[in-house]
Structures are given as structure tokens and as C-alpha cells.
């Protein structure tokens, strides 16, 4: 593999020194695992794990009409956000399919900070600019940020050692401008693991030593550096969508069971006409969770059958380290998308029994 053409985060050397196995993830040279996916997964569920997610993109929307532009191009209702609050949202094409799924942070009335998927960042930026008829500027600022995720029940205690910010005062999906290790940082109580924790946005030049400080601060809790492998099993258990799998340009939020991020009441937005029409006529297919009953793992792209007839496809599938079952997500005709429905997943051309189950597969104890 020629790794010279892959993009690297500021922590590339650190991952290699830790013995991480590196993979090409959407054009980025990223760690897939250090000690092992299952080991890292359990560390996050039971204590704390540290992820380098600096490949994620960042885009700022600033100006007097920043909020209006955000509400025009996203599905969730940005005008409802308070300063210091964040939400999950969709960036859609006019036909209702996903350009990307994003996190919108309201920094000020005239300043929105948007975290986007690494491999989508260029097209997201172009898309946002194409719809900018407002007194607002869209700034591509990915190079200004490294992003680290400190996730798990001991994430707060770990990070608290390194910041004067009272972390317990930050509510879930809120954030604050503060510092970590004396370095300016945006600290958000967000994550992609289904566990509590924080995501911090810091200057790339400081990423390597702050990473080491966090590992040191978390040592008493058995903190583990975690790769994209564990990030995937963790998000899957919590039924969080992964772009290119559950959602893409041909999937709408209504099909992806993401109605909660679509706010029709706010008025027109890019994709709203198509979505209103789809809501009226009804969706044909819907994302559901399944659990394997027979021996096998339903992987991304595998066909799903019902009584010998092709019915849908798997979007993600994996052993669930927390539940000790093989789980997955798939699209099914909406009338079959109900818990208890027997299905067969075609695992290397052999039908293996599975059934539709309620999601999320895992919900953290309150």
C-alpha cells in the first residue's frame, strides 16, 4: 500500500509509536486498533477510551444571517439552539438524500461551528456555499483543528484533571469555550459511542502532547487509546448512523429512521419539498436493527431475504462486544420493518436466520 498519498492527522506518528494498526479510511491513514477492537470497546463502556478523530472536518458559518443559512441547508432547527448548545442534523440534496450528517454548534448568534465527516468535507463546503444567498460567510477551517474524543463513564474525571472548566456543568449536547492543558479548546459533551464523554477541538500543533497528557490523566482508570474499529462497534450498538452505510445520497432521513432531526415546522429548507412529499406518500423502506439467530455475521452489503425473496440489504453488521450477539442494521420494506419479523441474511450465499429487533441495541445506564 502506498501510504504517501493518504492524509494524516497531527497524531500519525503517535499512533505508529503506540503500535496501532493503520488503515486507509476514506483517504486518511487512521488507526483501526491498538490493543484490539473488543478490548478497546469494553474500555469505553466500562471506564474510558481516547480517540483521535482529527480527520473530521470543521466548517464555520459566520455573519449576521449565519443562522438563516444554517436553517436553510440543514434539517434540524438551528434557530432553536441556545448559545453553547449543539445538535445532530442532516445536510440534504434537493431530492432529499444525504450530503452528510453533521453536528451543529451555536457559538454565537452570528457564529455556527459545524463538525462534518472527513471524506465529505470538500463536498459539504461546496454544497453550503452553493446555497449561500445570505449575509453570511462559509469558512473551511478543518486545518485549524485537531479533534480528540474522551469517551466513557470515567471520561469526565479524566478530562477534569486537565481543565479549569467545571465539566459536570456542561449538559449533554452542550459545549463551552475553555482550555485543556492550558491550551485554548472547544469542549463539547458529545460523542459517537453511546457512552458519556467529551469531544475537544484543539490546535493541531498541540494535539500530540495533549493526547499524551490525557492518557496520563486517565491512567488510574485504565484508559485505552481506541481506534476506528471500536468506534464502529460502539456506534453500531447505539444505532448511530455512519455515512456511506446507513445514509448516503440515495437515502432520506425519513427512511433512515431519523425523523427526529427533520423539523418541517421551521419552514422550507434544502430537501424539504422532497421530504414533505415522501412523508405524504409514505416511505417504502426503513432502517431497522437485526440480531443474528444462526451462526454468522451479516456484513455491510449482504442481501436480506424474507421467505426466500430478496427484501433489503445490510448497512452495517458486527459482533456486539457488549451484548455478546451478532447485530446489524438493514433496510427492509416498511411493512416488514417491525420487531420480531423473521429475516434471513445471505452470508456468503447461505441464508442465515435473523430477526428484526428494537433499537438501540445498547442504551447506557442513567
Amino acid at each position: 500500500m502506498d501510504t504517501s498519498i493518504l492524509r494524516r492527522t497531527p497524531l500519525n506518528d503517535v499512533h505508529r509509536a503506540l503500535g496501532a494498526r493503520m488503515v486507509d479510511f476514506g483517504g486518511w491513514d487512521m488507526p483501526v486498533q491498538y490493543s484490539g477492537v473488543v478490548d478497546e470497546h469494553h474500555a469505553v463502556r466500562k471506564s474510558v477510551g481516547l480517540f483521535d478523530v482529527s480527520h473530521m472536518g470543521e466548517i464555520e458559518i459566520v455573519g449576521p444571517e449565519a443562522g438563516a443559512l444554517v436553517d436553510r441547508i440543514t434539517t434540524n432547527w438551528a434557530a432553536k439552539l441556545k448559545i453553547g448548545q449543539a445538535h445532530y442534523s442532516g445536510l440534504l440534496y434537493e431530492h432529499g438524500g444525504f450530503v452528510d450528517d453533521i453536528l451543529v454548534h451555536k457559538v454565537a448568534d452570528d457564529f455556527f461551528f459545524i463538525c462534518v465527516n472527513a471524506s465529505n468535507q470538500d463536498k459539504d463546503y461546496a454544497h453550503m456555499r452553493a446555497f449561500n444567498r445570505f449575509d453570511a460567510k462559509v469558512n473551511f477551517v478543518s486545518d485549524a483543528y485537531a479533534q480528540l474524543a474522551i469517551q466513557g463513564p470515567n471520561g469526565l474525571a479524566t478530562l477534569q484533571k486537565l481543565t479549569p472548566v467545571e465539566l459536570s456543568a456542561i449538559k449533554y449536547y452542550w459545549f463551552t469555550e475553555g482550555s485543556v492543558c492550558g491550551t485554548k479548546a472547544r469542549i463539547a459533551r458529545t460523542g459517537y459511542t453511546g457512552e458519556g464523554g467529551f469531544e475537544i477541538y484543539i490546535p493541531p500543533a498541540d494535539a500530540a502532547w495533549i493526547w499524551s497528557e490525557i492518557l496520563e490523566a486517565g491512567r488510574e482508570f485504565g484508559i485505552k487509546p481506541c481506534g476506528l474499529g471500536a468506534r464502529n462497534t460502539l456506534r453500531l450498538e447505539s444505532k448511530m448512523a455512519l455515512y456511506g452505510h446507513e445514509i448516503h445520497a440515495s437515502i432520506t432521513p425519513l427512511e433512515a429512521d431519523l425523523n427526529w432531526i427533520v423539523k418541517f415546522d421551521k419552514g422550507d429548507f434544502v430537501g424539504s419539498t422532497a421530504l414533505r412529499q415522501q412523508k405524504e406518500t409514505g416511505i417504502k423502506r426503513k432502517l431497522v436493527g437485526f440480531e443474528m439467530l444462526g451462526r454468522g455475521i451479516g456484513r455491510d452489503g449482504y442481501e436480506v431475504q424474507i421467505e426466500g425473496t430478496p427484501a433489503g440489504w445490510v448497512t452495517s453488521g458486527s459482533p456486539s462486544p457488549t451484548l455478546n450477539k451478532n447485530i446489524g442494521l438493514c433496510y427492509l420494506p416498511v411493512e416488514k420493518a417491525v420487531a420480531g419479523q423473521p429475516i434471513q441474511v445471505m452470508v456468503r450465499n447461505q441464508p442465515v436466520d435473523a430477526k428484526v429487533v428494537d433499537t438501540p441495541f445498547y442504551k447506557r445506564p442513567k
Binding site: 486498533q33 455475521i297 459482533p319
Partner: protein, 129 residues
């Protein structure tokens, strides 16, 4: 850095073969198990199956991916490591020892000589990795 037994021979697909008196023990290399990560399923052929060099023996599935295993030699399966069905994680711990996959009564001529030696394989994975 892994150490690969000197008396084994290796394939580019990361299997090993250890030939003793016409019977070859087959397994996957330490490099292979490390690449796969946490192994959750091992599918192996039945005793009596005739295998040709380069054809699929079965598969190994990890949390992340499923991977086919190819027979390094031509022969007939005379023994299968049944224990791996219930303890597939053994493949992560002892791929060159207790977690062998199958034993073949070899029927091909001199195929073993075409496989890589330990030092050649070490160099091969060094270059690949």
C-alpha cells in the same frame, strides 16, 4: 517482531505449512491473526475433504472482517482442529501452535519447496506491512 518457526513454510496469503512424514499441519501466520484482529469464527473443512493447492480451505472471521484461507498444499484432510469452533480466540494467541487448522496427507509433488522459508516470509511481511 514476530518469530516465524524455521521448520515451517509460508504462503503470500499468510498460511503456514509444517510437513512431517507426508502429513502437513496447516495454519495461519501470526501476521495474519494480527491483521484480522479479534477472531470470532473459524470455518474448516470436514475430514476426508480433498484439497488442491490454492483452493479455499475455509474462512476465518474477525470482529472487523471475514477472510478466506487457502490451502498451501494439495492433499486430503485427515484431522481438523475441532476445538477452534468453540474457542476461535485461540487463533489470536497461538497461531503457530495450538491453533493449527487442519492436517493434510499430502499428495502433491514437492509443492512445499515452492513456499517461502521463514526468513523469506519475514522479509515479505516486513515489506508489505
Amino acid at each position: 517482531m514476530s518469530t516465524y518457526p524455521e521448520n515451517f513454510r509460508y504462503t503470500k496469503e499468510h498460511e503456514w505449512a509444517h510437513l512431517e512424514g507426508g502429513v502437513a499441519t496447516i495454519g495461519i501466520t501470526d501476521h495474519a491473526q494480527a491483521e484480522l484482529g479479534d477472531i470470532v469464527y473459524v470455518d474448516l473443512p470436514k475430514v476426508g475433504t480433498k484439497l488442491e493447492k490454492g483452493h479455499s480451505i475455509g474462512s476465518v472471521e474477525s470482529v472487523k472482517a471475514v477472510s478466506d484461507i487457502y490451502s498451501p498444499l494439495t492433499g486430503e484432510v485427515i484431522e481438523v482442529n475441532e476445538g477452534l469452533a468453540s474457542t476461535p480466540e485461540q487463533l489470536n494467541h497461538d497461531p503457530h501452535g495450538a491453533a493449527w487448522l487442519v492436517k493434510l496427507r499430502v499428495t502433491g509433488d514437492d509443492e512445499i519447496k515452492k513456499l517461502m522459508s521463514a526468513s523469506e516470509y519475514q522479509e515479505y511481511v516486513g515489506a508489505e506491512g
